[in-house]
C-alpha cells in the first residue's frame, strides 16, 4: 500500500460524506490496471470541496468519475488513491425553457437530461456515442466528447455557458452564468472543457439549448473509393444544405457517407431531395429511415471495451484531407496486417479508427506512422482506448509542440500538488 494513504482512513472520508457513501475500492474501480484505495460519493458541492481539501492536504491522487464511460481515455494514471464519484450530484438545478438555458449537476446522465428536456421540446446539442452507456454531464465536459451532431451544433465549448468547479485545494469557484452572452471575466468553462479533471472537478455546468427538431431524414450514398468520399464530403460542405451531421462509415461491411437532415417537415423534405440530387454523382443514393440509420454500426465505445487488443484512435485532420486520412490509415494497416475500420464526422475532419488484428508491435507502428503524417499536416492522432500495456508504449495524446510549457504552467497554477488525475493528460501532466 502507498504511503500516501497511510494518514487517511475510510472513516475520515465517511465523516464527510456519510457512512454509506464511502467505501473501499473494488477491482472494477481500477483505471488501466491501477487500483485506487477508496471510492467516495459526495452529495453536495461542499462535500466535494471537503474531500478534495483533505486529499490535497495529504497528497492523495484523485480521479473524478461520472459514468466511467471514458475511464480509459488518457495515459495510465501515475498514481490513484481516491475515486470521487459524482453519481449523487445528478439533478437539474434550473431549467427555464423560455431562456433556452439549463443548469445541471455534473453527475446527471446525459440521456436522462435529454429526456427531461425533450418534455419541453428542447435538447442540448451534443450526442456523443457514450450517451447510451450512461455518460454524465461532467464526464462529457471533461472529456470534450462529441458526436455526429457537432456538425451543426458545435462541441461542448460552443454550448457551455457556465460552470461551477472545485479545485484541488477545495476552493469552489464559478464562471459564466445562465445567460448565453457573457464576457465578464475569463471563460473558465471553456478552459475546463476537455481538461480531463486535471484542473478541478466539475460540479455543475450550464448549457444553452436548442429546439428539438420535429422531423428527420437520413440520406446515404454508397461510395466506391476514398477519393469519392472526400469529394462527396466536400460537396456537402460547400453546398447550402444545413445538415445535422455528415458521417462517414468506412470498413469491410459498409462504405457510406450519410447526411442527417433535421428540422421542420417541409424543410427536411426539400433538403433531403437536394442532398440526394447532390450525392447522386458519387454513388448510389438511398434514403434511410431513422432505425436503419441507428443500426449502421456505431464506432467502438471506449467505455464498453472490456478486453481484447482492439485499439481505438481519433484522427483530427483538415476536412479537405479526408481522403488522405483514409488512404494513409489503410496503407499503414495493410502493410502490417492490421485491420482498420473508420467512422467519423466527415464534414469536420474527425475520424474514429479502430484497429484490430495484427500484433501489438504492428499497431504501435501504425499509430506512430499516422501520428507523424498528420501532426505535420496540422492535425493530431489520439489513442482513445487501448490495453494499458499498449498505452505505456505509445503516448496517448501526441506531441504538444509550442504549447507544452504553457500547458504545464496552467496545470501547476490550478493543481500545484498535482493530485488530480496525475499522469493521465497531455505531456504526462
Amino acid at each position: 500500500m502507498d504511503t500516501r494513504t497511510q494518514n487517511v482512513s475510510l472513516e475520515d472520508l465517511q465523516n464527510i460524506v456519510g457512512e454509506q457513501h464511502a467505501r473501499e475500492a473494488a477491482a472494477e474501480d481500477a483505471i488501466d490496471g491501477v487500483e485506487p484505495r477508496f471510492v467516495a460519493e459526495p452529495g453536495s458541492v461542499e462535500e466535494v470541496s471537503a474531500l478534495l481539501k483533505l486529499a490535497n492536504d495529504e497528497g492523495l491522487a484523485v480521479a473524478p468519475r461520472g459514468g466511467g464511460t471514458m475511464s480509459r481515455l488518457g495515459n495510465p494514471p501515475r498514481n490513484l488513491d481516491l475515486v470521487l464519484s459524482t453519481a449523487r450530484l445528478n439533478e437539474i438545478v434550473e431549467h427555464v425553457p423560455g431562456d433556452q438555458v439549463v443548469r445541471v449537476q455534473a453527475g446527471m446522465k446525459l440521456r436522462d437530461l435529454q429526456e427531461q428536456l425533450a418534455g419541453s421540446n428542447q435538447m442540448v446539442g451534443i450526442d456523443p456515442p457514450e450517451t447510451g452507456a450512461g455518460a454524465t454531464i461532467g464526464g462529457v465536459v471533461a472529456a470534450n466528447s462529441s458526436g455526429p451532431r457537432r456538425y451543426r451544433y458545435g462541441t461542448i465549448r460552443d454550448l457551455i455557458i457556465g460552470v461551477t468547479v472545485v479545485l484541488a485545494d477545495g476552493t469552489v469557484a464559478k464562471s459564466g452564468g445562465k445567460v448565453v452572452k457573457n464576457v465578464a471575466g475569463y471563460d473558465l468553462q471553456k478552459l475546463f472543457t476537455g481538461s480531463l479533471g486535471t484542473l478541478g472537478l466539475i460540479a455543475s455546468a450550464n448549457f444553452r439549448l436548442h429546439p428539438l427538431p420535429e422531423a428527420a431524414r437520413t440520406v446515404a450514398v454508397e461510395l466506391a473509393d476514398t477519393a469519392a468520399v472526400g469529394q462527396a464530403a466536400q460537396a456537402v460542405m460547400h453546398s447550402q444544405l444545413v445538415p445535422s451531421s455528415v458521417e462517414l462509415h468506412w470498413g469491410e461491411d459498409a462504405k457510406l457517407l450519410t447526411v442527417l437532415l433535421e428540422g421542420i417537415p417541409p424543410a427536411v423534405e426539400a433538403q433531403a431531395e437536394t442532398a440526394s440530387f447532390l450525392l447522386r454523382g458519387f454513388g448510389d443514393v438511398r434514403e434511410r429511415s431513422d432505425e436503419e440509420a441507428e443500426n449502421l454500426g456505431p464506432l467502438p465505445v471506449p467505455g464498453s471495451f472490456t478486453g481484447g487488443d482492439e485499439v481505438a484512435l481519433k484522427i483530427s485532420a483538415p476536412p479537405s484531407e479526408l481522403t488522405g486520412v483514409l488512404d494513409s490509415t489503410w496503407g499503414a494497416c495493410s502493410r502490417r496486417g492490421v485491420t482498420p475500420r473508420a467512422t467519423g464526422q466527415a464534414g469536420i475532419g474527425v475520424t474514429y479508427v479502430s484497429l484490430s488484428g495484427g500484433d501489438e508491435e504492428a499497431k504501435v507502428q501504425v499509430v506512430e506512422e499516422l501520428r507523424e503524417v498528420w501532426t505535420r499536416r496540422g492535425g493530431s492522432v489520439i489513442v482513445r482506448a487501448a490495453p494499458a500495456a499498449f498505452k505505456r508504449r505509445v503516448e496517448v495524446w501526441g506531441p504538444l509542440g509550442s504549447r507544452l510549457e504553457l500547458t504545464r504552467r496552467v496545470n501547476e497554477k490550478f493543481d500545484p500538488r498535482g493530485i488530480l488525475n496525475p499522469g493521465r493528460f497531455v505531456g504526462g501532466i
Binding site: 464562471s175 484542473l199 421542420i264 476536412p319 475532419g349 490550478f414
Partner: protein, 511 residues
Amino acid sequence: MRRHGASHSRLGKVWGDGGLEWEGASSVERGQLIRTMEGILGPEGVISEREQLRSYECDGLMNYRVIPELVVLPETAEHVQEVVKLCHDEGIPFVARGSGTGLSGGALPVESGVLIVLSRLRRILEVDIPNQRVVVEPGVINIWVSQAVADEGYYYAPDPASQIVSSIGGNLAENSGGVHCLKYGFTSNHVMGAEVVLPDGSVVNIGGGKAPDAPGYELLGAFVGSEGTLGIATKITLRVVRKPEAVRTLLAAFKDTEEAGDAVSGIIGSGIVPAAIEMMDSLCIEAVETAVHPGFPQAGAVLIVELDGPHAEVESQFEQTIRTCEEAGASEIRIAEDDAERALFWKGRKAAFAAMGRISNDYYVQDSVVPRTELGAVLKRISEIGNEAGMRVANVFHAGDGNLHPLVLYDNDVPGEAEKAEDVAGRIVLTCLEHGGSLTGEHGIGKDKMKYMPKMLTADDLNVMQLLRCAFDPHHLCNPGKIFPTPRLCGERPGPFRMHPVQKAGLAENF
C-alpha cells in the same frame, strides 16, 4: 521624473484610484527605450511626441484617458514578438490596441507603459475555402474577412455593429458578438486557432488551426475574451460559413417594448431560432432617423427579425413569424424586398450608438445581459430608474439573447449630470445582476466595469480566474489594471528587472 499622464475624464474621475501606480522611466531610460524601439521598428514605427501620443489616450470610450509613455506600430509578427520581449526584459507594462473602437476601455494605455498598435498588421494571409477557414493578422478589419470570401459564397459570421472598423484582434480580445450571434455564436465559435505572443515574448500556437480538437487544454477558448490580458495574437485562423440559401428580414412596429417583447417570446417559443432579432425603443428610432434616415416608422418600439437558412425552412418560419407579430399587436410590418432594403434596416440598427450624438450631447452606453424571460421586467425597472433620476434612457438591444444596451443620455456641460448618468448606469447594472444576468455581453469589462465585478463574482471566483492569468502573465505586464479590481501577484520571484512597484509599495498581496 514622474509624468502626470492621467487627465480628468469627462465624468470627472482621475484614473489611478485603485489602479496600479507605476514608476515612470527616467529621461535617460526613455531616450534609450525610444532608440531601441526604433532599432526594431524603424523611426516610422515609434511615436514619442506628446501631442501625437495624445491621440491614443483613449479608445471608443472617451471617459477614461491616459497618455502612454510610447506608442509603437509594428508591421510584422516578428516585430510584435521583439517589442513584447523588450518590454518583458525591462519590466515595462504594455497594452495592445487594434482600431481603438472598444467600449469598455480595454485599450486604455497604462501610464508609463507602451501602447502596441496593431493596425499595420493587416494582411489576409491565407484563404482556404476547402477547409472553410481564413488566416488573418490581428489588424485586419472584421468586414474585410467577409469581403475576401464573398465571391466564393462565404462570409464571416460574427458581425458587431462596429464591423466596418473594428479589428479581428480586438474582436478576439472581447469575444465580440453582433446581431447574428443568437444563431451563429460569437467570435469564440468562429476562431479555430491563433499564434499568440505571450507576455514573456515567447510564441505559442493554440487551438488546432487547420484541424479540430487539438489535444490539451482549451487554451484558445480561454484566450478569446481575455481582453488582451493574456498575450497578443499575431495570426488568427477564422472559420467562415457558407452564405445561407435564403434570407428574409422584416421590421415590425409596436406600441411599446412590452408588446414587442411578447412578440419575441412568441417567436422563440415556437421553436424558431432567428438569425437575428433586435429591438429599438422610440428614443433610438428618433436618433437613428435623424442620422441615417432609414425611414423607420414612428413607434414605441421596433423589432427587426431576420431568418436565414434553407429556402423551405425560411419560408415556413417567416410566415409563422409574421403571424406571431400580428398576434402580438404589431401596428405595421415591413418586409425587405431586396438586399438594398435589408441593408437599410441594418444600417439603421447598427448606427444606433453613434446616432445618439444627434439627440444628446453625451451618452453612456451600457452592455448588460439578462435572461430573455426577464427582459420585460428589467425594461420596466430601467424606465423607472431613468424617471426617478430625471434622465432619458434609450434602449437598443439583442432581444433574442437578452443583451441590452441602455444608453443613458446626458449633457456633460450641465454640472452634475455626468455623475447622475453614471449613477443611473450603475443602478441599471445592478438590476440586471439581480435578475440573473451578467455585467457584460460583448463589450467586456475593461476598465469601465471593473468596479462591478465583485457584485457578480465572489472573491474566490475572481482569484481562480486570476490563476489563469498568472500562468500566462506572471509578471503582470500584459494590459494590467483591467478586468480584475484587485490585482493579485502570482508568487513569482521578480525577474532581473526592477522589483514590482506594487510589491515595493506593499499594496498587493502575494498569491
